[in-house]
Symmetry: C2
């Protein structure tokens, strides 16, 4: 039997995160204070984040040690497997080699706990008792609730009201791990109360939920805010994905991949798999990096590269990034995690400087690939992940046409077991091809 | 960092299944033909099962080679991890060592694919094009749909109508893997049509779904029937669980476990983890084997040991086993996979001869343990699995009281991500303690 799954020992989890910042073609420009428009410093971020995360956000160091207490919790599911999708290759009849890094094996079913655990640890270490955050469909809120349970932190999640009502399973998952979940707008905050006063049936939005979570954190000394994507320290924590994949590719006898792919919403899973390869590329290695996004929210393929707010309400610092405008409202596609108007400044910089490509797909093509993958390989991809699956399949078909033994690596960022309603729509012809 | 997860290489998946039959204290009595009451032979089973499975059902051989084509598919997720639940131990303050074998990592999220893959392979090898089966909540139907996709077999699933309507997610999972799912009673069979003629809104039952699946298989030459538990060949295929666990315990420096536990419905996951240790026990090793069942369906703890039908309608051969009577209707608890009136003849024999203990728990105590486990270890157990979690925690607490370093091994048979409605009921006080 040919080996097609490589699993490292717990002692082989990377002992340090990789920071791409010092290797970028041009240094990242600083975030700007939303009120003054002046560069935002550590003091501006201190009410929301612990100082160790603020330092990581701005660090010039290439390697940052992972604390032992974080490794202990990561080791509940890490290292994650690297898998060669041999049955998919056979179904496609391609000479390409398709590898995927399986981040779906975490308790929450996605890559999100990689940073949730680190963030919970640093907050606990600085005396914080409680974290507030927002969540849409519940991926990030469940990751943070899990992490909170590991360190004995309370977690308060503001969940977009319409998702709270329509997608109860991730709400239950958060509660199972001890998280407190309220539909947003809620009566726990002033902004929530004002919104409810105007419209008691307000469906909520991610922007509004962010505003509630930030207000919650700012007004309580025992509470900080936690964000699941976009920021530099979040991408930093996700680099364990690509660092492990490098070790595993070596075990598989692969010198280097030809192309490294990931789906892109805020950029955290994409950063996780690509950044450890990005330095090699910047230094001349022949490795293509590809971001995959939905056609209905084409930030990298059709957005502008400029300073914009990270949230809809304009409360966060402005960051230089690709953006569709912070008031852009994407259509309600199933890949909720990819419905973001902006993108991580790091990812944006790589695309802007020609170090990373970006492609966009319509929803229907994405689910076609997802079903093909599930039937060949077993595991059912999340709608977000399915964007990377689509692009990996297209790379493999292109390699077939050109007769190339292309080595393709993509991040399998999460499973779709809590997204089966989307598959139901696709299989029964109810999917809009937005 | 202390190691607490042991993962073998793909080449270390066992190359043969372990057959306990020749080691049982007393040979199993033959099944009896439902019509004549005479011992049923291979010819009676041939319309339903391929000859290789009929032979395994009656085999006196201790080891039966696993075909390479089966190992290829099992290796998509096997070997599964053995995990030491160190955080749970700490939360309990116990000197006991708690190990669990994590079968939740399969594509279908449970141990069921271990036999589904083998059954699909042998049917394909004997020229069968199509499999029929029944499913309640969908655990078994999804495992068989996944296995069918791997070998290009059509899979027809008769799903209990009330579950089809109330639990759409596993139906979607089956369809994603290409399975055809109809609510039972259906108009695809005579028994289904007759039932619908009497009551067009019949909610269905597992017994009725079995009758439809058997009728489907008997009347079509290209179709066989497939069963997910109870039978000897099903338990045989599950022994990879215990065989791998033995290798992994050795890596963990454990000579032998003191107690091996599993939840018990039909007996397949329990057999999988315990049978490789049962021979050691029968030959004198000091290892306790424990079956854990729901108080509301107390087959082993309160049933009679006698010949009974395997199904509700009385169409299957009669088997000697513990039974509550084939017309017993258990209350609708959340652990649907444990709502079975009988038990595997192998498990029943071990209990009858004092080689295995049985304990029963009410639903509320089971979910308490499940939530405690999820908060400590991350992964959320299925309601069925949570019975084993409850018993493992109670063993650990008993060991604490007695100051013993007891080594506890249990089978984590599946995750609860498609059962979160049950957690919702528990967390919000809506669980009946049946």
């Amino acid at each position: 039997m040919a080996t097609d799954r490589w699993v490292l020992n717990q002692s082989e989890i990377p002992s340090a995160w990789f920071n791409i910042a010092p290797s970028l073609p041009e240094p990242l420009k600083p975030p700007l204070h939303p009120g003054t428009g002046e560069p935002a410093g550590p003091d501006d971020l201190a009410p929301l984040f612990p100082m160790s995360l603020v330092e990581q956000e701005m660090s010039p160091q290439e390697w940052i040690d992972i604390p032992g207490e974080v490794l202990d919790v990561l080791s509940l599911w890490r290292p994650t497997p690297l898998v060669r999708a041999r049955r998919l290759e056979q179904a496609l009849g391609t000479p390409a080699k398709i590898f995927y890094k399986d981040e779906s094996v975490s308790p929450a079913g996605s890559h999100k706990p990689n940073t949730a655990v680190a963030q919970a640890f640093y907050n606990k270490a600085e005396g914080i008792k409680r974290l507030s955050t927002e969540t849409g469909a519940g991926q990030w809120g469940s990751a943070l609730s899990f992490a909170g349970a590991q360190y004995g932190l309370e977690v308060q999640v503001y969940m977009v009201a319409v998702s709270y009502a329509q997608k109860p399973y991730r709400r239950v998952l958060m509660e199972t791990w001890g998280g407190s979940v309220v539909p947003s707008p809620s009566d726990l905050t002033e902004v929530g109360k004002a919104t409810l006063a105007e419209n008691p049936d307000h469906p909520g939005s991610l922007g509004l939920a962010i505003s509630e979570a930030i207000e919650d954190a700012v007004k309580r000394d025992d509470t900080h805010y936690s964000l699941g994507s976009v920021l530099n320290h979040v991408l930093l924590h996700q680099t364990v994905i690509g660092l492990e994949a490098k070790q595993q590719l070596a075990l598989a006898g692969v010198d280097k991949p030809d192309v490294v792919l990931g789906s892109c919403g805020g950029g955290s899973n994409l950063g996780g798999i690509t950044l450890p390869f990005a330095k090699d590329r910047i230094e001349g290695a022949d490795i293509r990096l590809v971001a995959v996004e939905p056609e209905s929210c084409p930030t990298l393929t059709k957005g502008r590269y400029e300073y914009d707010f990270g949230d809809v309400a304009g409360m966060t610092p402005k960051m230089e990034m690709y953006t569709l405008g912070h008031d852009f409202v994407p259509p309600p596609i199933h890949a909720g995690g990819l419905r973001y108007h902006g993108d991580s400044p790091i990812i944006s910089s790589l695309v802007h400087h020609g170090q990373m490509e970006a492609v966009a797909y319509p929803q229907g093509k994405v689910f076609e690939a997802a079903v093909q993958f599930a039937r060949a390989e077993g595991v059912v991809p999340a709608p977000e992940t399915s964007h990377a699956v689509r692009a990996a399949i297209d790379e493999a078909l292109d390699a077939k046409e050109k007769g190339e033994e292309r080595v393709i690596l993509f991040n399998f960022s999460g499973h779709g077991l809590l997204d089966l309603a989307a598959y139901d729509d696709f299989l029964h012809g109810r999917l809009t091809d937005a």
